[in-house]
Each structure stands twice: as C-alpha cells, then as structure tokens.
Symmetry: C2
Subunit: 327 residues, 2 copies
C-alpha cells in the first residue's frame, strides 16, 4: 500500500480523499490542516486530522504527501519545505513562476533524496503533456489551447468584488467558430477575443445600479476588457440552484503538416469535459502520486513535472498487463 498524506483540506483536498478511496493500492494516513483539527470533519473513517505543525512526526508514516494549497502564497513555501522530508506532489499553476518554483523544489528534493512532482493536474498537467507530445510529433505545426466551458474561480471572485454585487459566477466559453477554424487545419491566428467569451451570472444587491455593475464588469482590465462579456442578472436562488457546480474542461489541438511538400494535414485533439474541476485535478494528482512513489523507490529524486514521468509509473497495472491490455 502507498501511504498518502493530504496537506490542506479544501475542494482539492476533498477530491484527493475521494480519489484515494478509488485506488486499491493506496491508503490515506492523515489530513493536515491549518485550522483547529477538531473542527475539520473528513469523509474517511478512522483517519486522523492533524495540525500542519505536527506534519514532521509523520515523516516515516507517509510515502507521498499531496499538497492541496493555493499557488499564490501556499505552495511556493509549502512544497519546497515538505520536499525536504517527503515525496510530494502539488498542482502549482502560476505558469509564469513555474521555473522558479521548480528550482526551489529541486534544491529541497535533491537534498532529501525525495521526488518533488510539481504542477500536476490538467492545465498545467494533462494539457501540458498533450502540448508536448503534439509539438514533438507534428514538428511543423501549431498549438491551440481553449478552456471551458467552465467556471473560472478568479473571474468569479473579481465579479464578487464589484460594488453592488452580492454573488456571482463566471464561465469561460470557447468560441465554436474558432475551434472549427483550428480543426479545419487552417492554422488561424486568433486574438484573445476570438478564442473565448465570458459569461457572467450576477446577483445584484437590492437597489444596486445594474447598468453600472454591468459596465464595471465588462470594462475590468485583465479580467474582462479583452473579451466579449455577457452579464446576466439572476436571483440568489437561481444562482444556488443552477450554478452550484464547478465544471470545467477545454481543448488542446495540434495542427501540423507532413509530406515532401507539406501536402498532408493532421489534427490531434485532446479534450476534457469535467463535472468537477477539483475532483478531476485530484484524480490526476493521485495517479502521479503513484508515479512519485515508484520513481523514488527506483532511486530517482529531485523536482519533476509530468514531462519527466513515463506513463508506466502512474498506472495501477504492471508493465506486462499494460502491454497486454492497453497497447
């Protein structure tokens, strides 16, 4: 059994807990929280909830620690720290800061002789993997990544900060005609506005100026001003009933040419349609936790990403079974 710890217990932590229960070769050993442990109720019976300060007492009891904190402030500190003591997997997703984070985790993990697998999930993660494979195979070509339809937490938060807004949710939606143009092999150059639209569902406070709210959202720099944005005012009841989920997904498409005169076009498309963004991310992380464990068992250490993990390490099957049933 691979002994797993969960460090941080929000949506992602709960997703990891569920995913572990689906994998017969893994067991959850403990959940670590910054809150008062007595106030945190988890789904798995008989598993202790501990304070993060006690994590080092689990040094020899946990094979892989899965970090479920946020990329802004948690992971940049937690992952390098914990990699000094555990094999770790995180879902660090601030793309621009990945090289720096990788370097920090690498120092810790090399020192401890552990594996520090960062930026695991679907983007970064499975989408990155598909960008890498597609660009390696169709050298003469172009990558396209589309996100959605799905809930953007950051954009939903931005809506909620607007004066007069009680609650709100934002969906990122890929533009169908742009997707079709890419699938046709035309290799179009697409602006931000041409690739995605943003759909907002907003609950206004009583007496708030809806026209002003809509204008404020649509003109918000970085978040909305570069997009065609629609703002729909709904009631709190409608929001809770119809927009409670955290669906997401998207498309990675590689379009490329081969042949003596580049006369043949090929389209590789990878897509995800996810009912629950955190639970799918958790499922990817848990599979790669198996990889971290096995690679460390073979003596590997240091920071890694999905690019460094051969598929056989993450499968519950043996290599023989994989060749027989999946190849």
């Amino acid at each position: 059994m691979i002994r797993i710890g969960i460090f941080g217990y929000g949506n992602l932590g709960r997703g990891v807990e569920c995913a572990i229960s689906q994998n017969g070769d893994m067991e959850l050993v403990a959940v670590f929280t910054r809150r008062d442990p007595s106030t945190v109720k988890i789904l798995t019976q008989g598993v202790p909830v501990c304070h993060v300060d006690d994590v080092l007492s689990y040094k020899d009891k946990i094979d892989v620690m899965i970090l479920c904190g946020g990329s802004a402030t948690d992971l940049p500190v937690q992952t390098p720290y914990l990699a000094e003591h555990f094999n770790v997997v995180d879902s660090f997703d601030t793309h621009a800061k990945i090289p720096e984070h990788f370097a920090n985790v690498d120092v810790s993990a090399k020192k401890s002789g552990k594996v520090g697998l960062i930026s695991v999930g679907w983007d970064p993660g499975m989408f990155s993997l598909n960008r890498a494979l597609g660009s390696s195979i169709l050298v003469n070509g172009q990558d396209y990544t589309f996100w959605g339809k799905g809930v953007s937490q950051g954009h939903s938060d931005a809506i909620r900060r607007v004066e007069g807004v009680l609650d709100g949710k934002q969906y990122t939606v890929p533009v169908d005609s742009a997707l079709e143009a890419v699938r046709s092999g035309a290799n179009p150059t697409l602006t931000t506005r041409e690739k995605h639209t943003r759909e907002c569902y907003v609950v206004a406070k009583e007496g708030a100026d809806k026209t002003l709210i809509e204008k404020t959202i649509k003109e918000m720099p970085n978040y909305f001003s570069d997009y065609d944005t629609t703002v729909n005012f709904i009631t709190k009841e409608e929001l809770d009933k119809n927009h409670a989920g955290i669906p997401h997904g998207g498309f990675v498409i590689r379009s490329g040419k081969t042949g003596k005169d580049l006369e043949h076009t090929h389209i590789i498309e990878y897509s995800l349609k996810l009912d629950s963004n955190p639970e799918f991310t958790a499922s990817v992380i848990v599979a790669y936790a198996r990889g971290a464990y096995r690679m460390n068992k073979e003596g590997m250490c240091g920071a890694m990403t999905v690019f460094d993990v051969a598929p056989r390490y993450i499968s519950p099957l043996s290599s023989e079974e994989m060749r027989k049933t999946l190849l």
Copy 2:
C-alpha cells in the same frame, strides 16, 4: 545530430524520410532495402541506398535504426536481429503478439545494451498512451476506442481478392450515435456492429456479377460479416481520382466517475484526423527515435514501449524550455 537509418522503404519508410527532414537534430544516414538498391530512388539527395545485407557495416554510423517493414513476417525477425546491433524503433501492430515480440526484442537489446522501442505509431502508440493515462486517472470508468474514418489496408486487400473485383478500397467509419452515447457519459455496452460501419468502393471487372460480389464481401467472415457494410461500385477512374489517399484517424475516449458517491462524470477524449496514415505514424516514430537515442545515452537498454518513455525524451526542446513554454 542523431544519425538515423531507415530499414525498408515503402509508404512508411518514405514517411520517415520526410519526418527526419523536419527535425533539425536528425540526419538520414542510409536507407536499406531488400530490392536491388540501384532501382530504389529516395527523396533525400546524397544519402546512399544500401542492400539490407550490408546493414552491419553501418553499425557505428547509425544511432537509431527505424524499421519500416510489416508486422506479419518482417518485424518479428528484423527487430530482434537489428536490436543486437542498433537502437531500434518499430511499429509492430499485431496487438495479440506484442508480449512475444517484446520478449524477443528484450533479449537482443539487453545483450547489446541498446534500446528496442516497439509498437510505436498511433495504434499501438498514441492511442495506447491515452488508454493508459485515461485509465490511470479515471480509475472508475471505461475505455472506448473508435477508428476512422479511414482506409483499412487489410480490408481493402480482402476486397481485391474477391472473384470479379479489379480494385477496391475500404473505409472504416465510426458510428456517430455510438460516439455521442459514449461522450454523454452513459458508459454504453457496444457491439462490434454498433461501433463501426464499413464502406467499400469497388471496381468490378467487365462482365462480373456485381450482386455476387456484394454478397461475397458482406458475408466475408472476420472482415465484414459482423458489420453493416455498404458496397459502392465505381469506375477505376473514380477510384483513382477520389480514393487515392490513405487517410485515417479515430478516437480514444475515457469516461469515468469521481466524488463521494460517484456523482460527477468526466470525459477525456483524444482524437486524430490524419490525411496520411503512414506519414503520421512516421512522425510519431521519429519523435520516439529521439527518445530511444537519449535514453540509451543515459545508459538504458532493453525492449520498451511508449509506456516506458517519459515525454521529455521525445521533445526537441530541453526540459527547461519545455517547462517554460509548454507546461
């Protein structure tokens, strides 16, 4: 530069030659043929065409030998033999015999200290990789593989062997309603007939009994009797004009459930739309030839499949560049 040899020069060999020319870190050193080399004209200027009997004289001049023969009789002999002297990559695609082929190549490659990468292409190959990743991530779920729309060489050959047939081509076509059922997350159980149809374009000899030809094709065991097959009689001119290409493609879909009560459904879909089956297969093989070269440089040897190759080995980019631009 990675020095490549091509062993066998048919459609796949020509595709490999084109793919090598797209990769700046590779050079074609020689093409080996069973025919009289003076009768074989290749696309690349200044590269020798040699007889297969002379292959061992290239032992120190070639880093990776790419085998482009057939799976029925060529590769079972050639891959183990050449793996005694070279890093090799083949596209062995007789799924049922992969374990045996793997074992044979493993003995040779372990003896020589070389890498023997087998069954590289899209199925087996990229489709296998996606079956492996999908089943590792969504443990509670089901795999579906659909092929087409594309030309099946084996089925086209079978048509041509029918009495009264001058020429013919067969397309394997996935059934849209079956694809949609899978994408809906319904996890349907699908029979062979429900997943694919077979479209035949047949040129009959003058005076041949078309009714009998159609009946013979539709009732042919293994090839057509388990499918809904349509037979279209056309002229040789129409066949040459409209059915000269070798397009193919398909879909690997993983549908799975997550959550405390398995209340969330996720769909992972990988699809290929290929103008030229052999050229795409060749592009995959050439990327993995880079992997075979690099892994052997690091001291690895023995038989391998796509499951054993970390993505970083096949990319023309360095790991640093991959993390910066693709992650």
